[in-house]
């Protein structure tokens, strides 16, 4: 029971308290590009959660069964990123065949998931926080959900911002970032919610 509660705490922490976008600064690049419409944002988010969880599972096993026993920890970066890149390739091929509509709407953003700092970041964080396998999976799914939350929140705001009046210099990404600042501030209110 204790460890189950710990799992719930990990997920609340990952979604709200240490949201990977607003608190950890991971996953910003696609964020700025994709989050203009809510449906693409959701689709992108789902793809990210999928890749994030699967890659986390694989990288975790690589860490435990290969890197640690043979003391080749320095190969972590290169092995992890190759796993992620290959996974994204597979997802792309799969989506092209079975979910063509979504594939078309995501366009270039799908291969860009490889360079999404969030995926590699979460894989590295799971190791750093010394989670076990189940905790790692819960952590990555929750981080992904936190990412979707951030993306969707943002898409909504950006859709509105398109029609707002403001100085020319602020239009586009600058005002998006200022909005992110305010949301980030709001998310800071969650601190202390979870006593890990």
């Amino acid at each position: 029971m204790d460890s189950f509660i710990y799992l719930i705490l990990i997920s609340i922490n990952a979604i709200f308290v240490s949201n990977i976008v607003f608190a950890q600064f991971l996953g910003i690049c696609p964020y700025m590009g994709v989050s203009k419409k809510i449906d693409t944002a959701l689709g992108m988010g789902m793809a990210v959660v999928f890749v994030m969880t699967l890659s986390n599972a694989i990288t975790y096993m690589i860490q435990i069964f290969i890197l640690e026993p043979y003391d080749i920890g320095f190969l972590k970066t290169i092995s992890f990123i190759l796993v992620i890149a290959s996974l994204v390739q597979f997802v792309e091929i799969f989506m092209k065949k079975k979910m063509n509509v979504l594939y078309q709407s995501l366009g270039i953003y799908l291969p860009l998931i490889t360079t999404n700092c969030a995926i590699l970041g979460v894989a590295l964080l799971a190791i750093q926080n010394e989670y076990n396998f189940i905790q790692s999976i819960v952590f990555s799914i929750s981080s992904g959900i936190g990412f979707i939350l951030a993306l969707v929140l943002f898409a909504g705001i950006r859709e509105r911002l398109e029609y707002a009046q403001m100085p020319a210099a602020l239009k586009g990404t600058p005002v998006a970032l200022v909005s992110a600042a305010i949301i980030s501030l709001a998310f800071m209110g969650f601190s202390g919610l979870v006593k890990l």
Binding site: F74, Q128, N129, K195, L196
Partner: protein, 199 residues
């Protein structure tokens, strides 16, 4: 088919070359990385144990209940002067906090030095200031309750950073219990691995 084979061969070549470069760098830097770690540790030990001086210290891995921690003991001419406890807690605001707590032979705290923490700058990060941890110095579990005021203890929390304060205080509390057990067992038994560390 020949073209594909050639492509794969080139990829393998690139991978081999990068593997060589990586292993080479790793081998070259291995010693210096270890050295940097030891320097960092020495700095912490010196900071928390004013009685260290030029005496050698010994690292003992001590098992207590379900935890193992590293205790660095200092002896001068066969007299046990005290030790530094390497304590870790995950209950901080963000990530691990790793710190050293210096204690003398009577169980009184002699210093605290935080080596790893990702706490909020300006808030939890203030735990590194002597202004905060100074309140632990000279106190032992006999005359001081190592819990934050919110938990009915004597420790004054950092303003607006109860989480960080609580994490470090509780870890220190547990560490001191462990140290008491260590002393009671003659400061030697339950050793899992001993390693000499000379100046």
């Amino acid at each position: 088919m020949a073209a594909q084979k050639k492509d794969v061969l080139i990829l393998v070549l690139i991978a081999t070359f990068s593997g060589l470069l990586l292993s080479g760098t790793y081998i070259l830097t291995k010693k210096d990385i270890a050295k940097a770690k030891i320097e960092k540790q020495k700095k912490a030990l010196k900071a928390v144990m004013p009685f260290l001086g030029n005496n050698p210290y010994e690292k003992i891995v001590y098992k207590y209940q379900e935890n193992t921690i590293n205790i660095f003991t200092v002896t001068e001419n066969e007299n046990f002067l005290g030790a530094a406890l390497e304590l870790k807690t995950k209950k901080g605001y963000s990530g691990w906090i790793v710190f050293y707590l210096g204690v003398d032979a009577d169980g009184k705290v002699t210093g605290m030095y935080i080596t790893e923490s990702k706490e909020t700058p300006g808030l939890g990060d203030k735990a590194k200031d002597k202004k905060w941890w100074g309140q632990f110095v000279g106190k032992s579990k006999e005359d001081f309750i190592f819990k934050v005021e919110k938990d009915k203890g004597d420790v004054v929390s950092i303003t607006a950073s109860t989480i960080t304060s609580r994490a470090i205080t509780n870890a220190s509390d547990q560490g001191l219990d462990l140290y008491k057990d260590f002393l009671a067992n003659g400061a030697k038994t339950n050793v899992v691995e001993a390693q000499d560390g000379k100046k």
